[in-house]
């Protein structure tokens, strides 16, 4: 087991280097001037050259890459060109905000996904099933940035019940789990939850249908168990798979959503990426992508290790 663990950790090193190389390469291949956010196009050539030198962009790309990787390995992702602030600090704050949003969206998605899934599966082919299935298909299909805008029009612009954007009256720095702050979270979280809700609902519906057709259910009915009792048995059997799907969806949501966070001005990783792209802030863009990629690599490593703990045959393979 220890060997396996060490091997898997060692494997992540080339993966991370590859991720770093791809992320650095893609960012530098994109056309445009790396200093565009701080240097107007009417700046003199001398000034342009002076700043290229001060920021180190006059060095060769391999040299820039090695220097960036070296500093990144020491926890320093550089400084944002546009703001002058440390990238690590910016990304970590954004990750915290995205986590907050992703957790709430996952809970909403899981609760309603399971509800629709169980109801649809239990009352298969009835009108309830059709309604719940249609809702889940809608959840998977609807473009969520569009849904976000519609929710804003209804609940913010028209009814004026919920704020349309931001992360609290005083900003995310002083976030507290009270109504004054949570009301800012509702619309983006609901918008973000529709896709996991749809996926979980469809998975659970299929699971429930399959479980209901199994012999032990017939046995339970034959023994005279009530519908509620049978329902609880179905829930217990479907739960592990539903939880696994929810875990995958949580991973997906933790990556942030550029569209949703931009629509709601939610200061997470998606909002940060959007800002970095539009300002062509290369260190911020590279740093954010690298942190998100590292997060997914770490998540995959964790899943591998957990699977191995549950099924030792994987380690032997």
């Amino acid at each position: 087991m220890l060997n396996f663990l060490v091997r898997r950790i060692v494997y992540t090193i080339p993966i991370m280097l590859g991720v770093a190389l791809v992320c650095f390469g893609l960012v530098h291949i994109a056309p445009g001037d790396p200093l565009v956010s701080i240097l107007p196009p009417d700046a003199s050539v001398q000034l342009q050259e002076q700043l290229m030198e001060l920021y180190g962009f006059n060095r060769s790309l391999p040299e820039q890459f090695l220097s960036w990787v070296y500093r990144a390995m020491h926890g320093d992702l550089g400084t944002s060109i546009a703001t002058g602030r440390p990238v690590t600090e910016e990304v970590m704050k954004a990750v915290g905000n995205t986590l907050r949003l992703a957790w709430v969206a996952t809970v909403i998605g899981f609760v309603f996904g399971c509800l629709f899934g169980f109801v649809a599966g239990y009352f298969q082919n009835s009108w309830i099933d059709k309604l719940a299935s249609a809702t889940s298909v809608l959840g998977v299909s609807v473009p969520h940035y569009w849904l976000g805008m519609v929710l804003v029009i209804i609940f913010s612009s028209t009814l004026m019940w919920l704020p349309p954007s931001g992360a609290g009256e005083g900003g995310s720095d002083i976030w507290i789990w009270n109504w004054a702050h949570v009301k800012f979270l509702i619309l983006p979280a609901v918008t973000m939850s529709v896709i996991p809700m749809g996926i979980i609902a469809r998975t659970v519906r299929a699971l429930v249908a399959e479980i209901l057709s199994q012999e032990f259910i017939v046995g339970l009915r034959a023994k005279g168990m009530t519908d509620l009792g049978i329902f609880l048995h179905v829930v217990k059997n479907a739960a592990p798979t539903a939880l696994a799907v929810m875990g995958l969806q949580l991973g997906y949501l933790l990556g942030g959503s550029i569209l949703i966070e931009t629509v709601f001005s939610w200061p997470g990783t998606g909002f940060l990426l959007n800002s970095a792209i539009f300002q062509r802030d290369l260190p911020l863009l590279q740093g954010t992508i690298l942190v998100l990629a590292t997060f997914f690599v770490a998540l995959n490593l964790l899943v591998d290790v957990m699977q191995t703990l549950l099924d030792p045959r994987i380690a032997r393979g």
Partner: protein
């Protein structure tokens, strides 16, 4: 009885009645005293513009974190809707060029100004602020502030203290535009910065790194001399500024207690924020949302800005625009009123780079108007007919800062020009690429065969409005004369304007230059942006000047 009367008199003496009235009045007034007057603004920027004195995010930065918190030696007059925004004294009370050496300027400074941290503003502070962007050897030099500052005052080289309230500024060449350029150099507090530098941990030994960290700390706890003081800064989310009760200019004393500026790059989010009451003011509402905004009782403010949305034409060999008749025809063929309707009225109709009535107007002999018949006649004289239209390519972007609505606007222009026998093809490229190509010029392969480019520009300052497009010294890659327009006559006109040190003489020289530019038409002038912004009717005292900027200080909120 006497005693009783005496008692009642002692209870209700005039003094006590007055005191009681006072207490009651205070009690009644208490809610209004306690209630802070807050003005909340949604900006178009994706991040709070830099707060350390030299803002980024284009002129939106100067508008929301520059002008409110800082002052410069000279400033724009933002007090009139109707008149052109002209240059005024600010932290400098007067200035003059040295008659014996016209690269040296003497600026007399105000002696009654203090920074928000209480330290005095003086000549040392001016020298220190010039050094922060121009002197790499100075401890406060900050590369991140150089780009947005030095490019806007291209000839300034150094500053020297003469006495506590007199400073000498030196330029690389005689330059009458320097006082105008200085509106872009905001005065940050050296004392506050030194305090931040001292607080940098001793473990950081590299002086450049210490300076960088001091600037980061300064940005979160800034100190300028402006009508508002920084109170709270949440990166990427908000900056909160409070009234500076000790501001030196009574005409610009803040009328609200607090201003909160929030970055909100998405136009629909800004509209929703206004309609839901989350903010009191939004920048640049999308044209589609304007009827709804107005129908809900919000007020829309706009005024043509010193902004030009043009097609800049190529004078390189083989360009069809080398024929002046074609350039004039294109300028006469665009239905700008129709375009304005397309934009919901949010567009100024240009008559040149600056409008009639501006000190630099100059009354050109070529009248830019909509006259398709005259345009067709000129095209026929140039040899272009419906059977043989003038075919060419124009580089445009699908979006971009200051580009308004580039796709529908360009398509409209394309259709307009088609009626006058122009056959225009578009090369649509990404905004940053178009911007970068602007410096490379029409002869560079990046032009991809295009003979015109569509990059909008600010026209507040003579260098940026005219010189860089008319001087042969500004040919690519030096500056933005993308089309290689210019000749000896224009170089002479520019030199004359640059060396006219009397304000009126300088404006007259610039007016001559402007008139000749319009007559030669190196651009197709298509639109001026109007800087639309929507506000709650609670916001009073709003004056939207003919400027990129707006003064928040005189605004109040009910």
């Amino acid at each position: 009885m006497k005693s009783s009367r005496s008692n009642s008199q002692s209870v209700l003496t005039p003094f006590r009645v007055a005191a009681l009235c006072g207490v009651l009045a205070t009690a009644l007034a208490a809610p209004s005293i306690a209630q802070e007057k807050v003005l909340r603004i949604a900006m178009t920027a994706a991040d709070v513009p830099r707060t350390l004195g030299q803002p980024d995010q284009g002129f939106e930065g100067n508008r929301f974190t520059g002008i409110p918190m800082y002052d410069s030696l000279t400033q724009w007059d933002l007090s009139s809707y109707d008149n052109a925004s002209v240059l005024l004294p600010a932290l400098a009370t007067s200035w003059e060029v040295n008659p014996n050496d016209k690269t040296k300027w003497i600026f007399k400074l105000r002696n009654d100004v203090k920074f928000h941290d209480g330290s005095p503003f003086n000549a040392d502070a001016v020298v220190w602020n010039v050094q922060k962007v121009l002197d790499q050897k100075s401890p406060q030099f900050d590369a991140s502030q150089v780009g947005v500052t030095a490019s806007r005052m291209p000839t300034l080289r150094s500053a020297r203290k003469i006495d506590d309230f007199t400073v000498e500024l030196t330029s690389s060449e005689p330059d009458a535009f320097l006082p105008i350029n200085l509106t872009n150099l905001f005065m940050a507090s050296p004392t506050q910065w030194q305090a931040k530098l001292k607080a940098v941990p001793a473990s950081v030994t590299d002086p450049a790194e210490r300076a960088k960290q001091a600037w980061i700390a300064f940005a979160s706890d800034a100190s300028g001399t402006g009508p508002f003081k920084m109170d709270r800064f949440v990166p990427r989310e908000r900056v909160e500024m409070v009234k500076n009760p000790n501001y030196w200019d009574p005409k610009r004393m803040a009328q609200v207690d607090r201003v909160i500026a929030i970055p909100m790059p998405e136009a629909n989010a800004r509209t929703a924020a206004l309609l839901s009451g989350q903010v009191d003011w939004i920048e640049a509402p999308s044209p589609d949302a304007i009827p709804q905004i107005e129908s809900r009782g919000f007020k829309l403010y706009s005024n043509p800005q010193p902004h030009v949305w043009p097609w800049q034409l190529s004078f390189a060999e083989g360009s069809p625009w080398l024929d002046k008749r074609v350039r004039h025809a294109a300028n006469l063929c665009i239905d700008r009123e129709g375009l304005k309707t397309l934009l919901g009225g949010q567009m100024g109709i240009p008559k040149g780079t600056v409008p009639p009535g501006h000190p630099w107007w100059g009354n050109p002999s070529f009248d830019i108007r909509y006259d398709p018949e005259a345009a067709k006649k000129l095209m026929a004289e140039a040899g272009y007919t419906a059977a043989k239209p003038m075919k060419t390519k124009v580089q445009i972007s699908a979006s971009g800062s200051g580009q308004m609505q580039p796709l529908p606007m360009n398509e409209f222009v394309q259709q307009s020009l088609k009626n006058c026998n122009f056959d225009i093809e578009f090369d649509v490229i990404e905004w940053n690429t178009l911007f970068t190509n602007w410096r490379k010029g029409a002869k560079d392969p990046s032009a991809n065969g295009a003979t015109a480019t569509n990059v909008s520009f600010a026209a507040m300052d003579p260098f940026f409005a005219m010189v860089r497009f008319g001087s042969t010294k500004a040919y690519p890659p030096v500056s933005n004369n993308w089309g290689y327009f210019g000749n000896e006559e224009f170089d002479k006109l520019i030199a004359n304007a640059r060396t006219s040190f009397d304000g009126k003489e300088r404006d007259a020289a610039l007016a001559k230059l402007h008139a000749r530019i319009v007559e030669e038409a190196p651009f197709i002038w298509i639109a001026h942006d109007t800087g639309p912004r929507a506000m709650s009717p609670k916001v009073k005292g709003v004056v939207q000047p003919k400027s990129w900027f707006i003064d928040i200080a005189p605004m109040s909120i009910e």
